[in-house]
């Protein structure tokens, strides 16, 4: 019995195909140099490993000074958004075999936010934009004694934008946001959309007024970078367009 289990457990390890992958990381350490520079690392990995696993191997075995954020490592917490081969993705949801591992894989911090160290950026401007659209339920009158009920149809209206994990992949893929950090950014509009189209919420007019600002939804040029970047598959540009339409046709 015991030998059978060991054999079964050992079999997959021998049948997998390991390969050598070059990971090219844009490093930055303000204590050493003000300049960002590329550094390449060779790691042994399997095609089904994720980019995050490769980064772990670099950090744990090759260079402990490499700095990046990650928490759950399963695409839920939204900590490890980075620019992989020129596209914003979550390192924990990107398999090596999907990003052409025969060539060096480039990993950069997300663009448009101040880099603090290596792949870690200052997320504060991003969260500030999110807070400014008041992403919480606004109601008037007495609290109901039971739940605030809602029909399935009303719930489905904003289902897409409830999936957001605040990873900033959309906002930092937006060319408007790169050149104008004052723009609320796709994520803040997604966060507002989630409440604007919630039948239980009564703060719609306030939020629409905030997004009617010069730096609000009208800065969107429908380049669709955000929709392509979103690791949760939210149709971000569609959400922005719906807010625009709500502003145009609300009276």
């Amino acid at each position: 019995m015991s030998t059978a289990t060991t054999e079964a457990g050992a079999a997959p390890a021998t049948s997998t195909t390991t390969m050598t992958v070059t990971v090219k990381i844009l490093r930055y350490n303000p204590e050493v140099s003000e300049e960002q520079h590329w550094e390449s690392y060779q790691v042994t990995a399997e095609p089904t490993d994720r980019v995050l696993d490769a980064l772990h191997k670099v950090k744990w075995d090759l260079d402990g000074s490499l700095t990046f954020r990650r928490s759950c490592a399963h695409g839920v917490c939204g900590s490890d958004a980075m620019r992989i081969n020129g596209k914003n993705r979550l390192a924990c949801k990107t398999l090596l075999k999907d990003v052409n591992p025969s060539e060096p894989i480039t990993v950069e911090p997300i663009k448009g936010l101040p880099v603090l160290k290596d792949l870690v950026v200052d997320m504060e401007p991003f969260f500030a934009a999110y807070r400014s659209v008041m992403p919480f339920l606004i109601t008037t009158g007495n609290e109901p004694t039971r739940e605030r009920l809602q029909s399935q149809k009303d719930r489905d209206r904003f289902d897409d934008t409830t999936k957001c994990i605040l990873c900033a992949a959309c906002t930092t893929s937006c060319p408007v946001y790169w050149t104008d950090g004052q723009y609320f950014g796709p994520q803040a509009i997604v966060g507002a959309h989630r409440f604007i189209f919630d039948s239980r919420d009564e703060g719609t007019d306030q939020r629409l007024e905030i997004l009617n600002d010069q730096e609000g939804v009208w800065r969107c040029r429908t380049t669709f970078n955000c929709t392509e970047a979103c690791p949760r598959g939210i149709e971000v540009t569609k959400a922005i367009q719906e807010v625009k339409r709500a502003l145009i046709f609300r009276r």
Partner: protein, 112 residues
């Protein structure tokens, strides 16, 4: 993103063309002879090739402009933006081929 970049570039190009176009057309009010001289200088192969670029930029900007309007005002627009981009490029090619043949045969063949 690249359709947006191309839209910007063609937009700026057309804007500068309009400058020159307003000046040369308004010369007809100043003096018809000066207008004729100006238009006569346009009839050479270099300007002829620039006109191909102008029509190419104009067609793309116009067709992509319709796509952008549909993205904003048609509720299903954002979902079909890729298909509409291919549509824009397809119509652009279909319209450019006969134009280029006809135009360049005028420019280089001298036929009127």
């Amino acid at each position: 993103m690249w359709s947006w970049v191309a839209h910007r570039i063609t937009g700026v190009t057309l804007f500068f063309f309009l400058f020159a176009h307003v000046i040369d057309t308004s010369m007809v009010r100043v003096s018809p002879e000066a207008y004729n001289t100006a238009v006569e200088t346009y009839k050479n192969p270099i300007v002829g090739i620039m006109e191909v670029g102008l029509v190419a930029a104009f067609l793309f900007h116009g067709l992509n402009g319709i796509r952008v309007i549909l993205v904003d005002f048609w509720s299903k627009g954002p979902r079909f933006q890729k298909q509409m981009t291919y549509g824009v490029l397809g119509i652009w090619v279909v319209l450019m081929i006969p134009f280029v043949i006809r135009h360049l045969s005028n420019v280089f063949g001298g036929g009127h």
